[in-house]
Amino acid sequence: MSRSSKSHDGPANPSRRGLLKAGIAGAGLVAGAGLARAAGGDPANLPPNVADWSRYLGPGVDAAPYGMPSEHEAQVVRRSVEWLTASRESSINFTPLHELDGIITPNGLCFERHHGGVAEMNPTDYRLMINGLVDKPLIFTLDDLKRFPRVNRLYFLECAANSGMEWRGAQLNGCQFTHGMVHCVMYTGVPLKYLLEEAGLKTNAKWIMPEGGDAAGMNRSVPIEKALDDCLVAFKMNGEALRPEQGYPARLVVPGWEGNMWVKWLRRIEVGDMPWHAREETSKYTDLLEGGKARRFTWVMDAKSVITSPSPQAPILHAKGATVLTGLAWSGNGRITRVDVTLDGGENWHEARIDGPSLPKALHRFYFEFDWDGSELLLQSRAHDETGYVQPTKDALRAVRGTNSIYHNNGIQTWYVKADGGVENVEIS
């Protein structure tokens, strides 16, 4: 019930209030025997009647100086999986991919992953130090950073452990949980190259070590070629300041590479001639293979896709007929060139329609419109990128890597759509 209808829905009109309540309760019953439901709604708001919002003035400007989503979208939030981690300060939550469309993730919905909680930095005391194999070690303030030429780039950020719970089999019912450690925003920032060149790289500079100012002191090794290629030090996301949980006031952007390297609350960059083998690139973020050896420095996020609707949290709620299937695809190696979808578990595939900008190392949105006959479906999507890479099946990945590697699970996801429109996470032969 909106605030305006509450204020005007006085004692003079008790029956309308009763109807509204009934309408809301009715909407909650969708998970019954069949998910298909009539359009529903409160007749008082439907033609030929005239709704309150068409009669009375609504809230004025500045009712919310920082605008928030409609109260009817309250379910569109990040969610976490309680049992995953021992502490909230070193934990994860997930982007509600099933509720979103297009390719931009709203700032407040970008998943969080912290190792020592959110560092509560103030911009006045923010400093970025560059030291090590440079001609002149420097310290930049935030204002200094904003005096370098800046660029705007749209990139996805995916945690290497996204889908990590699904290696052994289908486990979580919802693409928010299976694939929600990814987001995509427009960053504004300074090419890292400018900052490194300002300090002057020595000829033996081969690696950099970005380090966070959080209580985990997050540190990783990044080869100098990548640092000079497309890395940014970003201070804006989607036009506004970085959110505290995304590294305010400045973070590293490492396009196409695993999220852990995108050091938040960036306080220092050391330049060196060999990698550091930090905890986050030895104990963690290494991929243990079947034989007991582990791959290290597995930086790139390979091409991947997922159908976001229908999906377990976004069942089909309408009767048979016109149906929109949609999803996301991305590749750390460049652009997505094609996405195939199947409705019958991979017997036959169809090329999906990519809509919206197709940018390298950014999310791509795809659609496949079809006429649902009301029967059971087994949905999958398969991404192709511009390097000729094809998203593999989970079985193909397990065949080469086993089931212990945690990270870099970009296997094809299967959703089982039942006749009532409900959807379940499954694996198929």
């Binding site: 981690t85 104990s283 420095f297 578990g345 017997e347 036959n348 990945l397």
Partner: protein
């Protein structure tokens, strides 16, 4: 034109004449970092020993610190209390169904133990251990992992690089792409399989969070 405007126009002209597009490496931004400033923040340690501070500590000293500041989460013997990380044991589990990755079973370099403990532990009070205390705790973790067996063993900047961890050789380069490219195996588009069967279902495990449901399942980091 008023006198004021004339002056303004003149100074804009002068400024325009002086403005040049800037080149990389010549922005003149940032201030030099002093050795003291760098020393306070430059805390990283590398496998070759670069970055190690002066200092020393024994297994016995480390045990006292560990019991007081670490055991509440990691257990008296590094076995991990509840769901907090396990720090010792796990040897010969890397090929099993449930690998236990510890300093002794998995970590390749001792420098990582020093670097990480000093920068991030104890959890919630990072960078509080002195160099001597950190050497001592690292020595104790070597003891808990059966890499040293003498309680009198003293770890120091001098002997640090002589200690090697068992799994140093356990790492290989990234082998991807490790599945066929489109050019090697063009993806099938029609009549790709005869029959399809559901082999695994999330419902069976059912660990998806509902409202406040208490569930347990396979953890991931």
């Amino acid at each position: 034109m008023s006198r004021f405007l004339k002056v303004a126009a003149l100074s804009v002209g002068a400024a325009l004449a002086l403005s040049q597009p800037l080149q990389a490496g010549s922005f003149g931004l940032g201030t030099p970092a002093s050795p003291e400033e760098i020393a306070g923040w430059d805390i990283d340690v590398r496998p070759d020993g670069a970055g190690l501070p002066e200092g020393r500590g024994t297994v016995a000293e480390g045990e006292a610190i560990f019991t007081e500041q670490c055991a509440v989460c990691h257990g008296d013997f590094g076995e991990g209390a509840g769901r907090w990380p396990v720090l010792a044991g796990g040897q010969d589990t890397l090929t099993s169904e449930a690998p236990v990755k510890t300093i002794g079973s998995y970590w390749p370099y001792l420098s990582t133990v020093y670097d990480y403990i000093h920068r991030a532990m104890p959890y919630g009070n990072a960078q509080s251990l002195s160099a001597d205390e950190t050497y001592a705790v690292v020595a104790y973790l070597l003891y808990l992992n059966d890499i040293v067996d003498d309680e009198e063993f003293e770890l120091s900047k001098e002997n640090f690089s002589s200690v090697r961890l068992p799994n140093e050789g356990g790492f290989i380069d990234d082998g991807r792409p490790d599945t066929p490219l489109a050019s090697e195996e063009p993806p099938c588009m029609s009549e790709c399989k005869a029959e399809v069967k559901i082999t695994k279902r999330a419902r069976i495990i059912d660990v998806t969070p509902e409202e406040d449901g208490e569930v347990s399942g396979m953890a991931v980091d």
